[in-house]
């Protein structure tokens, strides 16, 4: 089922990708403008499902690496991601038949669409993270044995660096990040060259379509003045993610942030409507753990990474990033469970709670305490 994306589809994907960013991933705005301009200029964004990718096809993952806050100031020259793709093709001696997004959450939902349109090849409906994560080794491709390198990282000058670390994806991440900083803090990568068979085995399938369905559900609910968050939850139920519930509805009462090791870290507090409880969310670029704290100070984990903890505007249903969170916002925190491929022991070794410095094991969202009955906003 091959689809051609329209300018309006891109609007929907941007909204959905914001939700899948779980607080991080960067605002998709600049990426959305880039892809929409490409479509208006006559390029075509074609999407295919992983099942339609031939086993022997060559597939390459594409993304922006670095700080999304740099991208809003130093806009790309335009073909950085394509240049990385071309250089990687030269290095491996194969031509890419398809591009696959590395990360569906936030800005990186858009960069692969641009690269694919410029290369004139289809983009695979799926990705390697199923959400946003902060580092390149945190990809299902690598989790299930695909080496990330050779990786190519490119800047606006047309320069590129090839990173080769064998099958060590952690070192690949570390070297590529060092180069990215010297390239100005944001650069564009091609990585995880793989076969169509690898894609079918390792990708989180259907996430581009999921982002688009989230965006469409939010848009239609807003037009019909119905509940956008219920609409998102119902889309989840029909997807491989399968399960979602509202963790809490309330008001933001406090946000603390600091930059630690290049990550935006901090804590967000939400006074829960219709209860005396407070929801406390820790974030490290993305939201990583949510705890419900009762007035006696007893705290209970109600959501933890890799499950998605999505802070949404209660009225519009759109995502609120950790940078744009502030006192007084009315928010609904939606927990979304991860699909099977993201919760195996191998996967949890790479992005389980302990990989984010949490002294906590992962408990699936659906097994955590039933949510408090969310009362309507006063």
């Amino acid at each position: 089922m091959t689809r051609i994306l329209t300018v309006e589809d891109i609007d929907d994907i941007a909204i959905g990708a914001g939700i899948l960013g779980t607080g991080g991933g960067g605002d998709p705005l600049i990426g959305r403008l880039l892809v929409q301009k490409a479509i208006r200029d006559g390029l075509t964004v074609t999407v295919v499902h992983p099942d339609e990718v031939p086993d022997e096809a060559c597939v390459i993952a594409s993304a922006m690496m670095g700080a999304p806050t740099v991208v809003v100031e130093k806009l790309p020259a335009g073909e950085e991601a394509l240049n990385s793709l071309r250089a990687l093709e030269t290095r491996i001696g194969k031509t890419a038949d398809f591009i696959i997004p590395m990360e569906i959450g936030g800005l990186n939902s858009m960069i692969p669409l641009l690269a694919a349109a410029q290369a004139g090849i289809p983009v695979v409906d799926g990705d390697g993270m199923g959400r946003a994560f902060p580092e390149l080794q945190m990809e299902t491709f690598g989790v299930y044995g695909v080496p990330g390198s050779p990786l190519v990282v490119s800047d606006a000058n047309g320069d590129h660096v090839v990173v080769e670390t064998g099958d060590d994806n952690v070192r690949m991440e570390s070297f590529a990040r060092a180069v990215t900083i010297r390239m100005g803090g944001a650069a564009y990568i091609a990585e995880y060259p793989m076969s169509g068979a690898d894609v079918k085995r390792t990708a989180v399938a259907g996430t581009l379509g999921l982002a688009q369905s989230f965006g469409a559900a939010v848009r239609e609910a807003n037009q019909a003045h119905s509940d956008p968050i219920a609409a998102i939850a119902s889309v989840v139920q029909d997807s491989i993610y399968g399960y979602a519930h509202v963790i809490a509805t309330g008001k933001v009462t406090d946000v603390q942030r600091q930059v630690v090791d290049g990550f935006s870290s901090g804590t967000l507090k939400i006074a829960v409507f219709g209860a005396e409880d407070e929801l406390v969310i820790d974030f490290r670029n993305e939201n990583i753990i949510a705890r419900m704290v009762d007035p006696a100070g007893h705290s209970e984990v109600v959501g933890v990474v890799p499950d998605l903890i999505c802070v949404l505007d209660s009225d519009s249903g759109e995502a609120i990033t950790t940078e744009s969170t502030r006192y007084g916002q009315r928010v609904t925190v939606l927990g979304i469970s991860t699909p099977e491929i993201m919760r195996t022991p191998e996967a949890l070794k790479v992005w389980g709670p302990r990989c984010f410095g949490l002294d906590h094991d992962w408990t699936p969202l659906e097994q955590l305490a039933a949510p408090k009955q969310a009362a309507p906003a006063p």
Binding site: I30, L33, L34, K37, A67, T69, V70, V72, E73, K74, L75, P76, A77, G78, A156, N157, G158, I181, G184, G185, K251, T253, V259, G262, S264, S324, R326, Y327, G328, Q329, R330, A377, P378
Partner: protein, 513 residues
């Protein structure tokens, strides 16, 4: 004595003030030429309280003229946007996300050239003077009347914008005005560049309008200096206003808030300004409006210059009331006096509810006598709840904060808001905007990246504060009255040498007034 004038789209309001005391206040219709409206308004003022034009020490004008002209795409000049950042940034040229009608109204011409900086201050590429000269020649050929210059990371380092502007000025002559993005907006290239382009597009109108203000006053025998109110609530001199008309864009809500503060005597409060269609809620801190930290869309153009943080909800005097007692966001707007029930119309509006609830007297109350009491109570409660929620959203903490209600539609509000306590209702709010304009305070600001070596933080902070105070004094403030009203220190991640961006604003009373 000083005069505050608010030139709105409909009315030109004037007040005569001595200190914080309002000696006289008057309203006259705004005229197409502006000047006539100002003169009529001053006549009204004089009739209420005679004054000698020679005794006026300063005149402050607040105007929504520039923002209206931009939104309506009226009287804009042919602009060229010059962006320094190649080879980066070429993917999204200037005005890429502008509505077509504004692209056409401004000519939509743009140029990309080399220059720009990385986040850490390294050059993306060197500035090429010959390239700028070639571009200037093309601008001249195409009859460009104003230029907006932007450069990547210019809020961190503005040297390329400044040098490019010098070259352009030499090549194009003084008739072409030049706006620098680093003087106007913050980090976020498209938003900052958009603001600079909007400013440039208004440059000819700024000359005409400010010149018109000066002539009207001179014709009236007033020789006192003229100031215009800025978005942040401080004043700017007439010459500065000619260069930065965009600085007036949000002076309407700002002056209304500051006027409310004077009338209520409060320095820290929330202000609810209820109009015909919306209620605008803002927060005053130290008598100045809190600034928005997000991008603000004006006429469909995303900008990121400093604007007051205003939250609007769709509740006003003309809001439609549904059978389920829901209020707004649709409104009869200015047709209130013909369409509302109490005025003989057929539409149930929020004003009808206020009359039925006994909160206001207007029109014919018998025309709303049939309304069910519980229904009226429910609608009143709905309005109070929505406004209370809006105020609560805008608070930055749960500490108690007084709420001041102004605007013609404030009759809709109860005496107490749920969870917020008693509402302050100043008596004379009809000319709050003009009073807000007449507050004679002038500011200085620095916004700069400092390198903070270990153990020197206190010295750097002191240096920044002193620089802001000096700038306020240069702008005309009395040094003894200058105080720091805003201080913000943000360490920049990824940067060596503890680079810290410090923003500091000092404000004082206008000297000699």
């Amino acid at each position: 004595m000083r005069i505050g004038i608010d030139v709105g789209g409909t009315n030109t309001d004037s007040v005569l003030m001595e200190g914080d005391t309002v000696l006289a206040g008057t309203k006259a219709p705004t005229t197409d030429d502006i000047s006539t409206g100002i003169v009529n308004s001053l006549d009204g003022l004089k009739a209420e309280r005679d004054f000698d034009p020679g005794d006026i020490e300063a005149v402050m004008i607040g105007t929504t003229h520039f923002v209206n002209a931009f939104v309506e795409a009226r009287r804009l000049v042919k602009v060229a946007a010059l962006r320094l950042g190649l080879p980066a940034t070429a993917s999204l040229p200037p005005m890429v996300d502008w509505p077509q009608r504004l692209v056409e109204a401004t000519g939509g011409r743009s140029y990309l050239a080399h220059g720009g900086h990385e986040f850490d201050g390294r050059e993306i590429s060197p500035l090429d003077p010959d390239e700028i000269k070639r571009i200037a020649a093309d601008m001249r050929t195409n009859g460009v009347e104003a230029v907006a210059v932007s450069s990547v990371f210019s809020p961190v380092n503005d040297e390329f914008e400044v040098r490019a502007a010098e070259i352009l000025a030499e090549e194009l002559g003084p008739a072409v005005s030049i706006s620098l993005s680093s003087r106007i907006g913050r980090t976020g290239l498209l938003g900052r560049e958009n603001a600079a382009i909007a400013n440039a597009a208004l440059s000819a109108m700024a000359q005409t309008v400010v010149g018109g203000f000066e002539r009207s006053l001179a014709d009236y025998g007033i020789t006192a200096p003229l100031f215009l109110s800025q978005n942040d609530g401080t004043l700017m001199g007439a010459d500065y206003a000619r260069q930065y008309p965009i600085s007036t864009f949000s002076s309407g809500p700002t002056n209304s808030m500051r006027g409310a503060a004077v009338l209520s005597g409060l320095e820290d409060c929330a202000v609810v300004d209820v109009g015909g269609t919306t209620s605008d809620i803002g927060i005053l801190v130290n008598k100045f409006p809190r600034e928005a930290n997000t991008e603000v869309e004006i006429g469909g153009v995303r900008t990121n210059f400093r604007m007051p943080d205003v939250y609007s909800i769709g509740i006003g005097g003309g809001s439609l009331v549904s059978a389920e007692a829901a209020v707004g966001p649709r409104s009869v707007g200015y047709r209130l006096t013909t369409e509302a029930l109490v005025f003989g119309g057929a539409t149930l509006t929020a004003s009808d509810i206020a009359v039925a609830a006994g909160m206001a007297e207007m029109g014919d109350p018998s025309r709303v006598a049939h309304l069910d009491k519980d229904f009226v109570t429910a609608a009143v409660q709905r309005i109070a709840d929505d406004v209370a929620e809006g105020v609560d959203r805008m608070r930055t903490s749960s500490d108690p904060l007084p709420v001041v209600a102004v605007g013609g539609g404030s009759i809709l509000l109860p005496d107490r808001l749920p969870g917020l306590g008693e509402m302050v209702r100043p008596d004379n709010f009809a000319v709050a905007n003009a009073i807000g304009a007449a507050i004679a305070q002038i500011g200085g600001e620095i916004d700069q990246v400092f390198t903070v070596a270990p153990g020197t933080r206190d010295d750097v902070v002191a240096e920044a504060r002193e620089a802001a105070v000096d700038r306020a004094v240069e702008a005309g403030a009395d040094r003894d009255t200058v105080r720091i009203v805003d201080f913000d220190e943000v360490p920049l991640p990824y940067l060596p040498g503890n680079a810290t961006r410090i923003r500091c604003k000092a404000v004082g009373d206008l000297k000699g007034v």
